[in-house]
């Protein structure tokens, strides 16, 4: 009979490579190398006939300063910020309610939150197209109320914001809910016993303590929105174009691969910078709070 080895000693054997190796190698081949290739491609020369020529140039990046791309990035940033704020406003109270409700309601609430998140984006957008279209639900209701002409709701920035908010709201609610669950209800009672109204208690107790959840939720919502493609493509028309669409078209229809690559790199860099900044400011704030 083999003697059972103590766990720690077995743990130091090179066996870990067998467990961690397969996915590690897989990610190297299908995640790291593809993005390395994009970085390389982004400094290649674009040629209308050969797609990409291996001559180094900064032209693909210089081009992004043109008014067209600049507006595109600005719109993408602006819409993503609006979506993030909207999701925070809608998500905070919902997260609080779910965190503080009985387990039966919580189970149902979580199901109804996660189910729409897992259905394909294209289907959710299709639902919105039916609701907002010229003959859609909203316009029918308006006509019943006596409106002469329907509103043009689809193919506007507002439609894109609505669609993106619906899609990313669960990303906001779940982390905030987790943060609020960690706050002891006795803190709320203490605040209210000392004379705070519910609103004051929420603003001074719940909000600051759920900040880490709010930040991670906001980061998730923001990055989902920044890289959106399906929603602006089907709901945005010309007015609601976003960077994701530009990348898709430059790869698959315009065959400007170096152009698409530089857009990908800039979008990733922009997102990483903003995410890093948000994390840095919250850490800094936390440190300042501690120092106080």
């Amino acid at each position: 009979m083999e003697r059972a080895e103590p766990m720690e000693r077995a743990g130091r054997s090179p066996a870990w490579a067998l467990f961690v190796g397969p996915y590690g190698i897989y990610l190297l081949v299908f995640l790291v190398l593809p993005f390395a290739n994009v970085a390389l491609l982004s400094v290649y020369l674009h040629s209308p006939t050969k797609i990409a020529v291996a001559e180094f140039t900064g032209a693909n990046y210089a081009k992004l300063w043109e008014a067209y791309y600049f507006t595109l990035f600005l719109r993408t940033l602006r819409l993503s910020l609006i979506v993030t704020v909207l999701c925070a406003v809608l998500g905070l109270p919902l997260a609080y309610l779910l965190a503080r409700s009985t387990s039966g309601i919580k189970t149902l609430g979580l199901f109804l939150l996660i189910m729409p998140l897992m259905v394909s984006t294209v289907i959710r957008v299709f639902g919105w197209v039916v609701i907002l279209g010229n003959e859609g639900l909203v316009n029918q209701a308006l006509r019943l109320l006596g409106a002469e002409e329907g509103l043009r709701l689809l193919y506007t920035e507002g439609a894109v914001v609505l669609g993106l908010s619906q899609q990313s709201l669960p990303f906001m609610v779940l982390p905030i809910m987790a943060a609020i669950e960690r706050i002891s209800p006795s803190l709320e009672e203490a605040a209210q016993n000392l004379g705070a109204s519910w609103g004051q208690m929420f603003a001074r107790v719940i909000l600051p303590l759920s900040m880490p959840g709010l930040v991670s939720g906001a980061l998730l919502v923001f990055s989902v929105s920044m890289s959106a493609f399906i929603t602006p493509a089907l709901m945005g028309g010309r007015k609601g174009r976003m960077v994701g669409q530009q990348i898709y078209e430059e790869v698959l229809t315009a065959y400007n691969w170096p152009g698409a690559a530089s857009l990908t790199i800039i979008l990733s860099a922009l997102m990483l910078t903003l995410v890093g900044l948000a994390l840095w400011t919250t850490r800094r704030r936390a440190r300042l709070e501690m120092a106080r």
Partner: protein
Amino acid sequence: MPGRAPRFLWPFAIAVYALLLAPLVVVIAVSFGSSSTFDFPPRGLSLRWYRAFFSSETFVRSFFRVSQVIGLSTALVATVVGALAAIGLVRLRFRGRQAVETFFLSPLVVPHILLGAAVYLYLARLAWPTSSITLLLGHIVIATPYVIRCVTAGLVGMDPRLEEAAMSLGCSRAQAFVKVTLPLLRSSLVTGAVFAFIISFSDINLALFLAGPGAPSLPVHIFAQIQFEADPSIAAASALQIVIVGGLILLVQRLFRLRLMV
């Protein structure tokens, strides 16, 4: 419990849920309509668009031959690879473990549209034509982290003394793992596999780039149909997807703490 969750929050919450579920409800309602436009509320009830869906060769192929097959294959591969990775990360100590874990979960935060474009351009450089195989390769990247999360949570919550007890009764380390730990991990593994399937089944951003011209997945086919010739068989296809995904989530909600997944 005095004064918690004030009443006025309830109407607010119901309104937010209405917003969240509106598109899905509308899609399901339209799929049972009888007219050939997207009427909501539907003017008459019929199964006409389900018949149209099942008699359309492209819809049936994209649903059963492409999306379902790729989803199941993704689930299988992601579960094996992801479970191995999770076991390695939780049970074994090695240098850089933390960094490896971050790396393994990174596909959760890489935007899928960028990953799709990057893999597409990479395959183009290798002169590897896109097909269902390349889509499967892409889906494994994004589905495996879900399995890793599930199995990690399952392993962390397990009492290590169970395995030790088995070993003190004469099992080798490997036997103890297979006979004691693995059965206890069953619900984590099932949940991981189901999520891997759903991620693959619902994905459109990778599929747009990697599915290959001859074999669109169901979401890609729906996307093309919405853009060009729209008839309510799209709604039938979408309603089927909603029911499958909803049913699977209901199933795993019984097995696992769902919120860990997002």
